[in-house]
Amino acid sequence: MREEASEMSEDEEAGGAKERWAPDLGGGGEGGGSAVPFSDRVLEIVLENVLQFLTSRRDRNAASLVCRSWYRAEAQTRRDLFIGNCYAVAPRRATERFRGVRSIVLKGKPRFADFSLVPYGWGAHFSSWLFAMAPVYPWLERICLKRMTIADDDLSRIAHSFPLFKDLTLICCDGFSTVGLAIIADKCRHLRVLDLIEDYLEDEDDDEVVDWISRFPETTTSLESLVFDCVAGAFNFEALEALVARSPGLRRLRVNHHVTLEQLRRLMARAPQLTHLGTGAFRSGSVGAEAELDLTSSFAASKSLVCLSGFREVEPEYLPAIYLVCANLTSLNFSFANLTAEELKPVIQHCRNLRTFWVLDTVGDEGLLAVSQACRDLRELRVFPLDATEDSEGSVSDIGLQAISEGCRKLQSILYFCQQMTNAAVIAMSKNCPDLVVFRLCIMGRHRPDRITGEPMDEGFGAIVMNCKKLTRLSVSGLLTDKALAYIGKYGKLVRTLSVAFAGNSDLGLRYVLEGCSGLQKLEIRDSPFSDSALLCGVHHYYNMRFLWMNSCKLSMRGCKDVAERLPNLIVEVITDGTTNDAEEVERLYMYRSLEGPRNDAPPFVKIL
């Protein structure tokens, strides 16, 4: 929930709608000055000095296409490398073109890997990138990975290869353990940021777990951010307390759920300058009102807090302690806190300046009403389900959505899980919240129609694409016919990311989307009746996309091979799982453009056509 998280957001994209996919200009390594006339070289140096102020990668991509001279200058001065698909380009090509990189962001597995749709061992190993970077980027300061596999050996290599290394951010990654973390802590003496967000660490037996927090140097550290709520094991609290005490620059701290309120108090006392605090759990280790009083003063002393999260196993009687900071909060994450509306209301009423709010559906429509009344400035709302099954009770509905739309007019981003929805509520949101950029609605029951009218949800989503002129990301659900997809194709010209599940009646549905959404870059489809002929409709556009994912649709090997043949720079991966007997049937398809041809690390269950 950091502001920096927007870097990892699916919404930012290199190139955007206007970028045409062109083969790499002049290959790599043309940085040599010997072939270039002196006067040109002077101009290039001037240009480099100007270009270093250019930070947006979209602008940089555009600049690099002007001419060879600009291409070289841009390549020399790019400091932040963003690779949206680690298989779209080979590490070597990237390191040969961009010589002065200080920071790299890499994204690996397709997003549906989060939902167990990509088998273990599919790929996205960081090691090949590290192998290419270690010798040529000695000044590398920052590595940010999302959905990649990074081993303890890789962490060790990072620690030993980059003496100035400062910032490690791992989001939804796997493959490493406390062993690797200990090496980072020990060897990276300039470490500023260690953010571990929703990673899946390797299983370790009790005697294998390493006390990595104790491995930070004994001296004052430069730590500014330490996030480890996903490192599930117990740890040495005294070591953490001491670490926090000798890290005067620490602004962000998110601990795991083993920390009690008493311990939290001690941490806050050591770091009153914190701006972002993740409480882990929010429960007392002992019984008594004494703990509450102290907690209030702890929060009172933390005058800089703007973001609170954690609150697992929350004991609501201690929540009043945070009232004092609520007025300053811009971001609050209650999405792991099982709270009722009654427990939420007194807190949320104080949060007048909230911009980002994540919550569990246990607060119900009533809780959301309270949010809509208190948080008039809200920009981002996420409502997660406590019970993520199709047949669960469902505590929030169209009523809550309607209330939010009426109170939070400046809403830009919403993710809403529910069991029941109406077109009317969605239409209302489309009109009340014209600034919406991200609209993700998940009606958990498959094919579920409008709760009141029994109609498909076509009109609701149609209104969203029609009325929300800034919309770039959309996830649809509920009972949807081809009509909904026709609306999206017709009005969703700015949509870059689209997720479709259990929707549509026929190939027309996918055709409308592929032919209409000219800005589409990321398309994920599951369990929808689209076949080979629909797939062919996108051949004119696939090079402009980062990827297409389809599972449990009606694709066959023949159709996929057809696409592969027509588009040689498109990698067409068919992922099998041993579940189907029919060799022709394609259960999972993942397609993406690439400069490199088929990857050489594909496991046996991946067939590249």
Binding site: D114, L117, N338, P604
Partner: protein
């Protein structure tokens, strides 16, 4: 009055149009309704119990016509495992039943390990089938017929001992299995001949 009511309801059930082939199980809720209707009437006022049975019949009708509860689909609703696992601790008994049990599976000679959710399978046969499918690309030798003793499936139990799969009841196996290894060649034959 009561017995008429019972017969009516039974006939209704027998002739009711459903979306499933005849004889297949009814969804849980209507079944509960049906058993309620078929119970001996409470010796209260007959009118009341008759009326409530009519209501129950109507509700049962509606429920019979509704599609049966769907089988859980992989990855739906789209909530990350990280979040789902965070709430496991609350649900105690449910958690035990519904939580996946992933174990690593290695095969001698294969460059990759796989992970399997043991809870997905109902018994040893299914497990064998799944392993065959998963690893067939690594095995040049077919896993059927006379080649049966070319490999053995083993597992590491809670005590750290390597055991041959198949000796203990399935439930006991699931709870004690930590990881699995498919052994090939002489090692396997040695194990099998002892079994």
């Amino acid at each position: 009055m009561a017995s008429h009511g019972n017969n009516d309801i039974e006939n209704l059930k027998a002739t009711e149009l459903t979306l499933r082939p005849p004889g297949s199980d009814m969804p849980e809720k209507p079944t509960t309704m049906a058993t309620k209707c078929n119970k001996r009437p409470i010796p209260d006022s007959d009118d009341e119990s008759c009326r409530s049975r009519m209501d129950e019949t109507e509700e049962m009708e509606r429920k019979i016509l509704a599609p049966p509860p769907k089988a859980q689909v992989v990855g739906w609703p789209p909530v990350r495992a990280y979040r789902m696992n965070s709430f496991r601790g609350r649900k105690s008994d449910d958690a035990e039943e519904n939580a996946a049990k992933y174990v690593k599976v290695s095969m001698d000679g294969a460059p990759y390990l796989r992970k399997l959710d043991l809870k997905v399978y109902k018994g040893y046969e299914e497990l064998r089938g799944a392993l065959q499918a998963m690893f067939k690309c690594f095995s040049s030798v077919g896993m059927e017929g006379s080649d049966e003793y070319e490999y053995a499936i083993t597992y590491e139990d809670k005590d750290g001992d390597w055991m041959l799969v198949g000796d203990v009841p399935w439930e006991m196996f699931i709870s004690s299995c930590k990881r699995m290894r498919i052994m090939k060649g002489t090692e396997a034959r040695g194990l099998s001949s002892c079994a």
